[in-house]
Symmetry: C2
Subunit: 342 residues, 2 copies
């Protein structure tokens, strides 16, 4: 039995889902993998909640009253290194802080603090990785620690695992992904005849699009995921500035309908393609016309998918995977298990 | 740099492809993973070729004249343990022997010999695993060795990796696969209007179907792959007797055409489903009607695909992956890399 102390940073939708899922799955993970998950603290931007004991779901889910200055378990402004120190080395930071570009904070401080303190990292946050991938990867490597980010690269859709593990030994010759469920949902509704604004309204009414959907529909979310997937699978250190980004915002309805009439579909495709010059790659996010033979042609609605082109294995496509916070939490749990189980 | 001595067993299409691919990829694997692959011997049913030195592609590809009694490097009837002993522990058996049911030989003897001698195993052969999975897995576990078989479970299509690694921590609630390219090709031609025999003739003329196609079209190949995938991903010890098998041999053309008229497709589906009784599973291979919404509906021709249904990640589908001997060789190389690279 391997005891793994966990600190959860960020307690929004994904953080709560992670706390709940890790607690529910605790007995199954112990039985199947011999890993005892112990969530020892929850950290938010303004402080940390910890009692010195493993945190129980029942207590945490009662919520609000915990995070107050008069609760002796609430520690305002505590640096993460101070939180980690009494727990020893070898624990796992499970980072669920929201993406904040270009600073990467507060996730970046948490990730650096964890890796410098001898802790592994599983993160669902993109911003810190997009901002400082090379630095974080080098720090993890120097200290023999894992830096996993499945939850940041399309939640439950396996992307990095497949590129790194299932395709080990191949030369990846291209990556193409439909990595943003909101955009794909809007495009699917547009293919059915709606205009852009109407399709977006439908997406909003189903809780699929945010009130301000620009991060999704302008292609930033897809670009951030593409950067992370390319860095992991192609062994690169790209940042967001390396991606040419065009979103679907304001896309003419005619363009989508016309494509459909010709038997094609319009997808917001995130692609890494060899530039033809040495080892360099072109990274692009843009609305793209797909033929019916394209393996991502049938990825509809909020579904996501990724295709890898390889030299020896042909093309390999993965689709599906739940997109909600619970799917992201499941990706974090997967990463944690794969760090400690062997 | 990690030197990995390799013995290749079986030298048919897959064995030759593996020798060629491992030789071609040697520099890239050294550079990317720090693994130095050294193929030290090639073993066939009647003996082994080894010189005490790493075998070079140029020499081996000259072929036939090597395997003769008057060649001092040819060792008739040498047991695998004797071949391994001078190479020390920690090497990798790369097994490419053809499937021979129900005995599992000659692969079974090779696999047992390797695991008993402290060697890891990557195999593309199904027979030994289907016949003696529990015994082989226990032997590997007792000795802290890896027993990998991606090459036996749909060649380059990632199946076991995804179920075990990418879905770690989920409860897998069902597995459905199109695991045999020959059958799927025949069904695709039938959906276009051909009768069974004509479709099979076309498959034969393209080198897709064997002269005796029964192993493929009667469902045995799919069943063997299903057993291996289920054993790995569901932590079971099924054998072929646990699978209800119905192939596509002699399937009426009307059945396939009628399905098409109704907007459905007929696929030879290999499925593991909970039986409803405790932890037991139903394993079946049978021609199945798929709706357009099924993630494997669009898997056509020789393509393969697999869908995992999970509790927390939703459904995850993988399609593609080259089906030829080079694809199987690439799966063997992937397994070898994942055994030694960390």
């Amino acid at each position: 039995m391997k005891k793994v102390p966990v600190i959860l940073t960020g307690f929004g939708h994904v953080g709560r889902a992670a706390f709940t899922l890790f607690s529910e799955k605790r007995p199954a993970v112990r039985e199947r993998y011999g890993i005892e998950i112990e969530i020892m603290a929850v950290m938010k931007a303004d402080g940390a909640f910890h009692t010195g004991e493993r945190l129980e779901l029942g207590r945490i889910s009662r919520g609000g009253a915990l995070w107050t200055a008069d609760n002796p378990a609430w520690h305002a402004g505590l640096p993460i290194a101070d939180l980690i120190r009494p727990l020893g080395k070898g624990g796992c930071l499970v980072d669920c802080t929201p993406s904040n570009l270009p600073s990467g904070e507060p996730g970046l401080t948490y990730l650096l603090g964890a890796l410098e303190s001898g802790w592994n990292v599983a993160t669902a946050g993109k911003a810190a990785l997009v901002t400082a991938f090379g630095r974080l990867r080098a720090l993890a490597a120097e200290n023999g620690l894992a830096l996993k980010f499945s939850g940041a690269t399309a939640a439950a859709l396996p992307t990095v695992d497949v590129g790194v593990i299932s395709l080990a030994g191949t030369r990846i010759e291209g990556i193409q992904g439909i990595l943003n469920g909101t955009s794909n949902y809007v495009l699917t509704r547009m293919a059915e005849g709606l205009g852009y604004e109407s399709a977006l309204d439908v997406a909003r009414s189903h809780g699929i699009a945010e009130p301000d959907p620009s991060y999704d529909v302008d292609g930033w979310d897809s670009a951030a995921k593409l950067v992370l997937i390319a860095n992991a699978c192609l062994d690169q250190e790209f940042g967001l500035n390396d991606v040419r980004i065009a979103g679907i915002s304001g896309l003419p309805a005619d363009f989508v309908r016309e494509a459909r009439r010709e038997g094609k579909s319009v997808k917001l495709l995130a692609a890494a393609s060899p530039s033809g010059k040495g080892r360099a790659w072109n990274l692009e996010v843009q609305p793209s016309l797909l033929d019916p033979a394209h393996p991502l042609f049938h990825v509809e609605g909020t579904e996501k998918g990724i295709t890898f082109l390889t030299d020896t294995m042909g093309s390999v496509t993965v689709t599906g995977g739940r997109s909600n916070p619970r799917g992201a939490a499941a990706a974090l749990l997967k990463d944690l298990i794969n760090i400690y189980y062997s």
